[in-house]
Symmetry: C2
């Protein structure tokens, strides 16, 4: 059945979904949750139409400039650099950061051939040298690639006369920022080095 096979193929685009799960999902939706399938289709279409990339911080935004970047009450001297919009969201939810953000396009990876240029280093340097930013907090992951990213960006930022810090080692080494609990993150922010 062409429509069924196409749906199964499309479900496999989801991260962590193999052929068996995709089939199970498709059958489940069509047999038991057609309303859910409809809501998912609408949710995807709506999100694609409304969510864009903030021109200032490169996070998700429902306008050309996101709500955080548009918030004039924040400290313009602080800029936190993260790998993904998800990392930005979790740092924001920790409630202990009042500066602005810059979202990279991931992290450098020699294996996958991704250098500083590929993750937006130039745009970061441009953003960080606006005359207001004094300290850049490199909140990349504490993985080998995240550390390498922080090192490379840190050197470039220091060369511009900026203060560069890193989240404190309260964050468990080897883990993804996105999955760290909020209390640990709050401590790591306070102890940034």
């Amino acid at each position: 059945m062409a429509a069924l096979d196409q749906l199964i193929d499309a479900l496999r685009k989801l991260p962590g979904v193999g052929p068996k799960s995709a089939q199970r999902m498709a059958y489940h939706l069509l047999q038991h949750d057609r309303l859910g399938a409809q809501q998912l289709a609408a949710g995807l279409t709506e999100a694609l139409a409304r969510i864009q990339t903030c021109t200032r911080c490169h996070s998700f935004a429902e306008a050309p400039v996101c709500a955080v970047c548009s918030d004039g009450t924040r400290d313009p001297a602080l800029l936190a650099v993260v790998e993904t919009p998800a990392d930005q969201a979790v740092l924001e939810r920790s409630g202990s950061y009042r500066g602005y953000y810059f979202v990279l396009g991931g992290r450098v990876s020699p294996i996958e051939g991704r250098g500083p240029k590929d993750i937006g280093a130039e745009a970061l340097l441009h953003r960080a040298t606006d005359g207001l930013v004094r300290e850049v907090i490199l909140a990349t992951s504490f993985t080998a690639e995240g550390e390498a990213t922080a090192y490379l960006l840190g050197e470039a930022l220091k060369a511009q006369g900026l203060k560069v810090s890193r989240l404190a080692r309260g964050v468990p080494v080897g883990s993804e920022l996105e999955f760290v609990d909020l209390g640990t993150l709050a401590h790591a922010l306070a102890d940034r080095r």
Copy 2:
């Protein structure tokens, strides 16, 4: 962000997807695979529009009557009864069955308060007493609920003078039909009791 939260909620409708996975999926699609998100939305919409329930066997169909039920070269004396469209698909793929099918709405469950009426026993009796069907193969799961379903339906079908069989015990006890390998299924069909 409303559109993002709605997408995450919608992704949680998928079986086996919790809040963390749903968030990861939403961020992944929006950041790295917008085309995939578009294809998934289209696949869902297309499947919902095109896939309906076959009026004859109650499996999935792209027309009022499905391709299998419309196939006049099959043996009208044989009717296989399965729990789901997925089970029907896997039996069909085994390549060793040339009769028709009847798809139940699951299986009886005392715990969930589902009796024979709730899974379509009346429609099955109606279908099986068309004057052409001679043998009904009860291909429900070899779980306690699947066995109870086969027992209850078998008694009702025998009362109508029909021959009733069950897949041979080649199917591993306690397992879902959908996940059985095709060779085992072919043997189980040949040895039906």
